[in-house]
Subunit: 428 residues, 2 copies
């Protein structure tokens, strides 16, 4: 069953509003076995709207349309659907009663403009809106079934679940395929490196579609499968994921769409270990990522964001001599930062970052993009230096924070340190 | 000049990724006088891609295409453009050299798959990519000029500005209307509250189009104008922005699209003041926001992300008695946290947060969504309590961080504390 999605409205067309509805709808429909082929967006222009309805009607089996059902003059979806279907608009008495009751519950009388929302294309089926004034409708145009829903995300989502999804099974003639996706998250290789390493594996599994997604600074490998036997599909995804992970090795940090911070958090929680952080160049981002996970207070104790050198000394006990002789961005300093954070917070582990996120502050010896990562644990203190010569200040903060968390992940798992995709300078 | 936008890739088609590129492009093109008529999205399917290229070519004057220029087998945009134009692919030696140099700068040899990125439709013009491996290209198909750019947002934005916009003037035959936008950023009122407060002002200025954009937790009011006299347009925008700011009052924190953190940073830098932060529930987000601004080391000294109570005592000197008798989420604790951070870092000001971001940890007395904000400065220590009963854990962290920064902004500017849109409990 082929599906298309149409978002309407000048706010989306002109870019004042990002369309998040279409992605939500696409994911839900695909999960139900609909093959989403195209998305469209047009503004509140009756001619363009009617054209798109007619184009979609010629190609798709079902279509989801959002927006343009409101009471104002720029809401034209209902009229466009009627024109495309070659029918007139008729008043629906039940819909009018429902709208009147909605306003009664709010203790207000029905504004005249809202009466417009009770008119529908002749022959369409009304889809009730439990939480707003705009009902939706279902209309057949040529061989395509259109579902027109409000553009307000919370209303659209409720009606998609309660009105659209249950009708899909009968539309598909009782038989439909399901689809599944498996996400492998990697750090430390570029998209093209990952793609090349997997090209022969993918050739071995023609029933698996592969997608690469740069969720910077992660590269995600997504394996898609479509079929009708869920258990068999899970087994098959397991097999392929195993081959992929075997090839990419320890660059794969999650196979269930967990973030790097949540992955490290799981490792800490499993080992009943705790973590302290000392952040200079990452400026709080490591702590922010860690605390985005509910339950992170089980293992995350403290981060000292010591932007100023005085704070590095006063809070973490970094020695003035070290700062003076080696500089803030040095293996020596991050080792003292990590040791200091671990000591202050009485933590099992501590990681520390000091680097140059730019745009200023670089030198020939330590260019913008250089970061030193310190790691303190029960077995002592180590450090590594990385160099990321791409991206702006915010991108570099993310790369630095990922490198620090990945250094801890690899240490806990007994893996080699990361040395791909960047220049590594082993500290003296 | 009519424009259309095409986003490509299975990730967007299937809903795995929300397409933010198209809204960005639409806004930029409209500002340059292009009338954006439609957006499209199709996946990595050569047939569908070629069809859409041909459809757009029949309707539009210019088209912007994003994605599908990468090195992997699912990147098909170049091939589709060539097919739609009825030409072959040819190797561009300059582009190959540029890609080779990109890898050389990274200290790596060119992977064979990246060679693919140096092939372009015969007769197209190469658009250099200053920060990535995928160059774009410009190609004429029927009467439409297509600009094909990478899908990575930061690369797309750079190339849109440096390669596409400058070519628009010659395409439009030398004459075009310009459009301008003024952005007023607000915190502390909902979108519908802002909309209602401005409805009569907007009615007074029919030549101004207004848009509301929830850039959570900010609400942005955007004023659009189109014309051909830039100086007159700026004056007119000044007048309307003045009326809007007069109505919304001190909830407007920026009229030049600066973030709350950058706005507070500017105030600190102007007053040669420095800042320390003590974060519990915000988990590093305040520091992360502050350090996203280049030059923040002029005023930002230190943040103690004291997630554990022990860290609040050991690092910030919060007393055990205070924690035991009032709890971590209390006006008393955040006042001691703020005072401690200010003292440790020798800063002019300090702000502190302690609250319940959820999903667990709430109580009847202090439900999830409660946050206490402490403020220490040369004139002493104060605190406020807010309650944000909406959004998930990440949304609440953002609301809490904004409330804390806004508390400092209002203090420095001598404004009343925020008391709209949330329950405020004045501390004893």
């Amino acid at each position: 069953m082929k599906g298309e999605i149409l978002a309407t409205g000048d706010e989306i067309r002109s870019g004042a509003l990002i369309d998040s509805n279409s992605a939500y709808i696409a994911e839900r429909l695909e999960r139900e076995g609909v093959e989403v082929v195209r998305h469209h967006c047009v503004g509140d222009d009756l001619g363009s709207l009617t054209d798109v309805f007619q184009e979609i009607a010629r190609r798709a089996d079902i279509a989801l349309v959002t927006g343009g059902l409101g009471p104002t003059s720029d809401d034209r979806t209902t009229e466009a659907a009627a024109r495309a279907a070659g029918v007139g608009l008729v008043l629906n008495a039940d819909a009018l009663t429902a709208i009147e009751m909605f306003f009664e519950r709010l203790g207000r009388t029905l504004p005249p403009s809202n009466r417009k929302q009770a008119f529908f294309p002749d022959g369409s089926e009304i889809l009730p809106n439990p939480i707003g004034t705009a009902p939706g409708f279902k209309i057949q145009i040529e061989t395509c079934t259109f579902f027109c829903l409000p553009g307000v995300p919370v209303e659209m989502r409720k009606m998609l679940a309660s009105e659209v999804i249950p009708r899909l099974l009968s539309l598909s003639g009782g038989h439909r395929q399901i689809s599944m996706v498996r996400t492998l998250s990697t750090f430390g290789a570029t998209e093209s490196m990952v793609g090349e390493q997997l090209s022969d594996i993918i050739a071995d599994f023609p029933d698996i579609q592969i997608g690469y997604r740069a969720k910077f600074p992660e590269i995600q490998v997504r394996l898609y499968i479509r079929g009708d036997d869920a258990a068999e599909m899970v087994n098959h995804l397991d097999t392929v994921a195993h081959r992929v992970t075997g090839r990419l090795g320890d660059r794969v940090f999650s196979s269930d769409n967990r973030s790097m911070a949540a992955t490290v958090g799981d490792l800490l929680a499993d080992g009943k270990a705790t973590l302290a952080v000392a952040e200079s160049c990452t400026g709080g981002l490591i702590s922010h990522w860690l605390t985005n996970t509910a339950g992170s207070s089980r293992y995350f104790l403290f981060s000292g964001v010591t932007y100023a050198n005085a704070a590095k000394m006063d809070v973490l006990g970094v020695s003035e001599t070290t700062l003076a002789s080696h500089g803030a961005v040095s293996p020596e300093t991050v080792r003292e930062m990590a040791a200091g954070a671990r000591r202050v917070a009485h933590a099992t582990y501590a990681i520390a970052t000091s680097g140059i996120a730019g745009p200023d502050g670089g030198s020939d010896e330590k260019p913008v993009g250089t970061v030193c990562v310190g790691l303190a644990g029960p077995d002592g203190v180590t450090s590594r230096q990385f160099y990321f010569p791409y991206g702006n200040r915010r991108a570099k903060k993310k790369l630095f924070a990922m490198a620090a968390l990945d250094t801890l992940r690899r240490h806990i798992l007994g893996m080699e340190a990361l040395d791909v995709g960047m220049k590594k300078i082993t500290s003296p």
